[in-house]
Symmetry: C2
Subunit: 155 residues, 2 copies
Amino acid sequence: MNCSVAQTLEVVGEWWTMLIIRDCFLGVTRFDDFHQRLGISRNILADRLEHLVERGVVVRVPYQEHPVRFDYRLTDKGRDLWLVLTAMRQWGDRWEAAEGPPVIIEHRVCGHETTVVPCCSSCGERLDARSVRAMAGPGSRSRPADEILPPARPA
Amino acid sequence: MNCSVAQTLEVVGEWWTMLIIRDCFLGVTRFDDFHQRLGISRNILADRLEHLVERGVVVRVPYQEHPVRFDYRLTDKGRDLWLVLTAMRQWGDRWEAAEGPPVIIEHRVCGHETTVVPCCSSCGERLDARSVRAMAGPGSRSRPADEILPPARPA
């Protein structure tokens, strides 16, 4: 499917994957630590980590030789998932956390508790769903327009 | 799992769900239109829509009486997924769109092409993974700390 959301889901859309990524951001690097924290089978964890390595989201770094053992660390591509993860956390905090946010985030620079406010890369004002519109981009070439954007339906 | 990312995945983490949400944002409201655009089975589509209705992300609005037919429309809770969806799209555009972004976004207010820049709700400066730190929040009460945040490991 010619869609960047679908492409992202191909990389991180399997069950458990975003929770593995979350733990990477929290500093977890070792197979046994992921296994213990997530409580998933070793097979599934190994499968998800292998996929993330193949897609360049995490990299294996040996920390022991005999037998060889690896740390799993985020690449630049993996660290760039921070906004996806943060947006998921904020939505869960807002709509699904009856007892309040399990985790709060501090901005080291200003020292205050923070949430992400989405701002326009051009003018700096706050963005939301109603203030933007989608248009066909360069990657839509040679695709039927309604595969990218639906035809307008009369109200 | 006491984690807002996990809670979010419980609502929108199934395969296809975020693509249904994407199409909602693009103005698709009818079962047959989702079905045609996504190319998934009617059973799976019905299952995903039912789950989204149960969790308050979309609402059914009748548009025809005999037989009764529904539009599926985002609720406020559903529209608040905009940042999750946008973050996924931007990541896919950056890392997985060899031919360029299939869709570009215009900020209606300033009239320019835009991407979301994550800014601090407190000081307004740009946020990223390295400029923030996670701390236990009010929803972490009565949970072992290392279920929320891992213990520090000596380097």
